[in-house]
């Protein structure tokens, strides 16, 4: 592979086919040769070279850098002309200062500090967004907000009627699960009939609103973020702004109104379907007559429970819309950013819902509702 010529030249013989999909030789063997012999010049002999591609070029560039460091002159005359030209092309433009990004990992304490400092920006941004939406709502009340009613109707349809299928499925199953868990325990005391209380109260007070919220965060919140994000990428949001139309009025308000209107309805629907799921278990497993199950549910669930649940649902609706639209409006300028925005919208939406649920639990307890 290597020949030494008496005048201090190391000749590297490159032979055979050089292909990327074969193994690439390591430049380290050249290093060893250079260190062993301390030549003044490196030349190449390519008589037996049959084919070459980028693997040869990469190898030669590595070798060139090595030789540069150990002050060995590289003689490229022995190389095929194509290789010589490509190497010159690769070296024609000097590396731009700062173009190569160095990744230095700072100590973990510094990383924690950085993360805390960075958390401030998004938090302020979120507060600013909520403030801007409040102002937009003010314009809406004064009749100054501009959006198209046909957009609103379409959004209502998407967030309402089109969501019924998935809400039905999830609510029914939640009702069934609650009933099963309850039935196994309550049957031990011969109190199987109280499954109706358990399912009824749980669905109406909490689970109806929460499950609808989570389904809608995954379904509608993500779609809002993706829609607004794409509109940012295609400059539609800019176009609105330069037409003198506030994107908040035109895009965010109708979405928020649609969800805020539809969530309570979906929640009531989900309550009913969940209770039906419970009834299915009651009738099938516990052999309770439907009439008895129905009466037990009616006597245990109060109007206050229902109002509380529906109120929660509309708050969740607003939170999902805020999360979806905020992440959409924050979206960067690429298609992967749109995907990120959708993901972040779902995560933010669910975090909002669960946090709000906790706040409501404490609040309702304190108020004695």
């Amino acid at each position: 592979m290597f020949d030494r010529v008496p005048d201090g030249t190391l000749v590297a013989r490159l032979g055979g086919p050089w292909h990327l999909h074969r193994d690439m030789p390591n430049a380290a063997m050249v290093t060893r040769e250079i260190e062993a012999g301390r030549p003044g010049r490196l030349a190449f002999d390519t008589e037996t070279l049959t084919a070459w591609d980028s693997s040869l070029l990469t190898f030669l560039i590595d070798v060139g850098e090595l030789c540069g460091r150990s002050h060995v002159t590289v003689d490229r005359n022995g190389l095929p002309t194509g290789v010589q030209r490509l190497l010159e092309l690769a070296e024609a433009v000097p590396e731009r200062q700062g173009a190569r990004q160095e990744h230095v990992v700072p100590p973990w304490l510094a990383r924690v500090g950085d993360a805390v400092l960075r958390a401030r920006g998004p938090l302020l941004e979120m507060l600013g967004f909520v403030g801007a939406i409040t102002l937009a709502l003010g314009r809406l009340v004064r009749g100054k907000a501009r959006f198209r009613l046909s957009d609103l109707f379409l959004l209502v349809q998407q967030a309402g009627a089109e969501a019924l299928g998935i809400v039905t499925l999830i609510s029914f199953l939640v009702g069934v699960i609650l009933a099963f868990v309850g039935a196994v325990q309550l049957e031990q005391f011969g109190a199987a009939i109280y499954v109706a209380n358990l399912v009824g109260i749980a669905m109406v007070r909490e689970m109806g609103a929460m499950m609808t919220g989570i389904v809608m965060a995954g379904r509608t919140g993500a779609s809002y973020a993706a829609q607004l994000g794409t509109m940012k990428v295609t400059q539609e949001v800019d176009a609105l702004t330069t037409m003198g139309i506030s994107p908040l009025d035109f895009l965010v308000l109708p979405r928020m109104i649609a969800l805020c209107l539809m969530m309570p309805l979906l929640c009531i629907y989900s309550d009913v379907v969940g209770i039906l799921g419970g009834a299915a278990v009651g009738m099938g497993m516990l052999k309770l007559p439907l009439r008895v199950y129905y009466d037990q549910t009616i006597t245990s669930v109060h109007v206050g429970d229902l109002v509380g649940g529906v109120f929660k649902a509309s708050v969740y609706g607003v939170l999902i819309a805020i999360a979806g639209c905020l992440r959409g409006m924050q979206c960067g300028n690429s298609s992967s950013a749109v995907g990120d925005a959708a993901t972040r919208a779902v995560v933010t939406g669910i975090v909002f819902i669960i946090s709000a649920c906790g706040v409501f639990a404490v609040l309702f307890y304190v108020l004695g509702i």
């Binding site: 379409l154 509109m231 400059q235 539609e236 702004t241 330069t242 037409m243 003198g244 139309i245």
Partner: protein, 266 residues
């Protein structure tokens, strides 16, 4: 810096857009500094420069999508930078902007896209709005496409439809962001012709961001060159004059990198 005609505009009665000491920055990163130029009424003013030098950012500043780090932009004698939001909105209504990708609203038909600003800012009836939308579409050669959605037409047609929307309110100033980007040479030429016709028939002031040499020489009556290395403008004047009298960088740019001789000059 070249002092071509129109470079000292403070007292020019024909000044339509005046940029004074404008510095643009993203955070602490300065993109361009000390920009001073005037666009006169009826000009086709071209903002040119290499890729990534801040041409489109300058356009975004001119239409108020980005705020200047320092300096001022005036429309007529009125400061746009210092205007109240409500006043700024009024000024914005006199602009038409054609975005790089057309930026048509994808959930609306072409007629609805064009009718949107008309419906918001005029008292026209829906029938009248539809008629005006048809007229604007006919002007850009898209007669009969009223009911199409943006996704159903080609990129070149989307650009023309975007132009129709930009013209909806008969604006005083039309802004074009890279009008020929992504178009074949013939479509791009047709768009240039359209720009010239608009200027002649409507008398609008037109500001174009582009690096297409053919377009620059065809349409521009005045231009500014943004230099990416020095981060400021290095030439101001009609491109044909800059070709003779401009400094080296702008001449190289206008000759596609050939630093002397008439070989690359159109």
């Amino acid at each position: 810096m070249d002092t071509a005609p129109g470079a000292n505009p403070a007292t020019d009665p024909h000044a339509h857009i005046t940029v004074r000491n404008l510095t643009m920055a993203y955070g602490s990163f300065v993109i361009m500094r000390d920009l001073n130029f005037t666009v006169r009424r009826g000009d086709v003013f071209v903002i040119m420069g290499g890729s990534g030098c801040g041409k489109s950012t300058l356009l975004r500043h001119l239409i108020g999508l980005n705020e200047p780090a320092s300096g001022e932009i005036l429309y007529g004698t009125e400061s746009f930078t210092a205007a109240e939001p409500a006043r700024r909105e009024q000024l914005l209504r006199r602009f038409g902007v054609l975005y790089q990708s057309g930026a048509l609203f994808s959930s609306m038909t072409l007629a609805e896209n064009i009718g949107l600003p008309l419906g918001l800012y005029t008292d026209l009836t829906p029938v009248q709005i539809r008629e005006i939308a048809s007229l604007k579409l006919a002007l850009v050669g898209l007669k009969g496409f009223e009911g199409f959605f943006p996704s159903q037409i080609s990129g070149g047609m989307q650009k023309r439809a975007g132009l129709a929307r930009a013209m909806a309110l008969d604006p005083d100033i039309l802004f074009f962001d890279e009008p020929s980007a992504g178009l074949d040479p013939i479509s791009s030429r047709l768009l240039d012709d359209l720009i010239l016709q608009l200027r002649e028939s409507l008398g609008s002031t037109i500001v174009v961001v582009t690096h297409e040499l053919a377009s620059i020489f065809t349409i521009a009556t005045n231009s500014v060159y943004l230099d990416v290395d020095t981060r400021t403008m290095t030439a101001l004047g009609p491109p044909k004059e800059l070709l003779r009298t401009g400094n080296d960088t702008v001449r190289r740019f206008l000759r596609r990198g050939e630093s002397n001789g008439a070989k690359g000059a159109p």
